[in-house]
């Protein structure tokens, strides 16, 4: 295991080294791709900048709101669809069309409907994430083996106890996966909406830095977002693996 970890770190180090060298030695235009060391110091400075911190706080609040709504909502609706095969058969094709539709093209409509602000960001992120989380919920419901349910019924399990002792533990890995999707797409949705039109937020900052050709700041912002996303994602993956290691086949 440590060999894998070490080689992964090595790859990251090599990429960082190449980046630094390419920029320093002029293999690429340093105005377009500033050296990593410079981006690092800009990022460090930004983290002490009140303006950025308040923008970051806003963005995190928007993401949290969207995640809190779409995670449970998507999973619950998905669960009930997955539990009702006739309903799923009827609605399935529609859902897949909605899933495939790029939600970003509706951003102007969201702005017209909800204005530019907190509500619009959250509602757009929820819309963007909903169908993906929904599919996780459907998959979770369908992943429960019918035999386990039959056996538990034969032991006199009521509907509530079936949900509690069979469905929930059986669906746990896919529930965590659904929450992971909810989080990733909530982040994407909020940033997208901020970049498209906003007065505040990290997305707007990054977009503005791009417009002003302030590449070190732009890359520092991107790096910050990437680090936060990866950290949160890893956290959820750990939760997922805890569930999986307890699940060792029938």
């Amino acid at each position: 295991m440590w060999i894998v970890r070490t080689s992964q770190l090595l790859v990251v180090a090599i990429v960082a080294g190449l980046w630094e060298a390419a920029s320093q030695r002029g293999w690429v235009d340093p105005n377009l791709l500033p050296p990593l060391s410079k981006i690092g110091s800009v990022l460090f400075a930004l983290l002490h900048d009140d303006r950025l911190l308040s923008d970051l706080a806003l963005t995190i609040t928007e993401v949290s709101a969207a995640f809190t709504i779409v995670g449970p909502l998507g999973l619950l609706v998905g669960f009930f669809l997955g539990e009702q095969p006739p309903v799923y058969r009827a609605l399935g094709p529609v859902l897949h069309v909605l899933l495939a539709t790029p939600k970003s093209i509706f951003l102007p409509v969201f702005i017209l409907a909800f204005g530019i602000g907190f509500l619009e960001k959250v509602i757009f992120a929820v819309t963007l994430s909903f169908f993906i989380v929904l599919l996780s919920g459907i998959a979770a419901a369908q992943s429960v083996p019918a035999g386990l349910v039959t056996v538990a019924r034969s032991f006199g399990a009521t509907r509530l106890k079936l949900y509690l002792f069979i469905y929930l533990p059986a669906m746990q890995p896919l529930i965590v996966e659904g929450l992971r999707m909810a989080l990733i797409f909530s982040i994407t949705g909020v940033l997208l909406a901020e970049m498209y039109g906003s007065a505040h937020g990290v997305g707007r900052l990054i977009f503005a830095w791009g417009e002003m050709f302030r590449m070190p700041e732009l890359f520092a912002g991107v790096l910050l977002i990437v680090m936060i996303t990866v950290a949160v994602n890893e956290l959820l993956r750990v939760a997922e693996n805890v569930g999986r290691s307890r699940r060792r086949g029938f």
């Binding site: 035999g147 533990p169 060792r248």
Partner: protein, 263 residues
């Protein structure tokens, strides 16, 4: 055999089925699975049900278990009309063990008691003693994924006995196992049965297994399933592998074979 609480010849009727029919769907697409089945089983008997595949023997078992409702007819078990699962009277086992993969062997055995809210101090010792009965005392803390197919079915046997049901319903429980394991599991099941004296209804498509285990063999016809005949197996207990080779066994086996083939 003598310490079994109920005599094999006991005449207390524990399972009674009257004019049972089951039809799936309606109109032109309907499927008649079972037709006019009546039967009676006395307490403590080991009965097997054989028939061609698709004859509805599994459906019959699910109806006895209260997991599927019949289209018409009635089922009584231990004096109670069966309209849904009766966990304190009936246990069911299937071809797959269906253990909860996130629970250990002993937790799986306790599971029916946990569902009824029995405290740990009561359910744990009982589950452990049942695991010992099926020879798995050393595997109490293993997960199902770490057990072989035969071991999983032994855990399932222990689990189905944990509520001390009056009737054990088994739907081809050993069909997925290799032949040697199947024979050994059959013998172990008989030992457990001799000890507990519960009534067993065992569905199988294996004629040898059906005769070897049973006091009575019910033979079913092809769809829609009907009871063609009930055979009394008069081999002494405990049964031994050698009996499979003897003449009486062979004669009975041939009669059932022709009955199913000619149906």
């Amino acid at each position: 055999m003598n310490h079994r609480p109920t005599a094999r010849a006991g005449s207390v009727e524990i399972i009674k089925v009257e004019r049972l029919s089951k039809q799936y769907g309606s109109g032109a697409n309907s499927l008649r699975a079972l037709s006019d089945i009546s039967l009676s089983v006395s307490e403590g008997q080991f009965v097997t049900v054989v028939g061609p595949s698709g004859c509805g023997k599994s459906t019959l078992l699910l109806i006895l278990a209260g997991l599927v409702s019949p289209s018409s007819g009635d089922v009584w078990i231990d004096g109670a009309a069966v309209t849904g699962p009766l966990p304190e009277k009936i246990s069911v086992m299937f071809q797959e063990a269906w253990l909860l993969p996130w629970k250990t062997a002993v937790e799986n055995v306790e599971f029916p008691l946990m569902l009824r809210g029995a405290p740990f101090a009561i359910r744990r010792p009982r589950a452990l003693s049942l695991l010992q009965l099926v020879g798995l005392e050393g595997f109490a803390n293993r997960y199902p994924g770490e057990l072989s197919g035969g071991m999983k079915q032994r855990v399932a046997i222990a689990r189905s006995l944990v509520q001390e049901p009056r009737v054990l319903l088994m739907d081809e429980p050993f069909a997925a196992l290799d032949e040697q394991t199947r024979t050994r599991m059959g013998n172990e099941l008989l030992q457990v049965w001799e000890k507990f004296g519960r009534t067993v209804v065992f569905v199988t498509h294996g004629l040898t297994e059906a005769i070897y285990l049973a006091d009575f063999v019910f033979v079913m016809s092809a769809r829609p399933g009907r009871i063609l005949e009930r055979f009394h197996v008069e081999l002494p207990r405990p049964r031994t592998i050698e009996m499979i080779g003897n003449e009486a066994f062979g004669r009975l086996r041939n009669r059932i074979w022709h009955l199913i083939g000619g149906a």
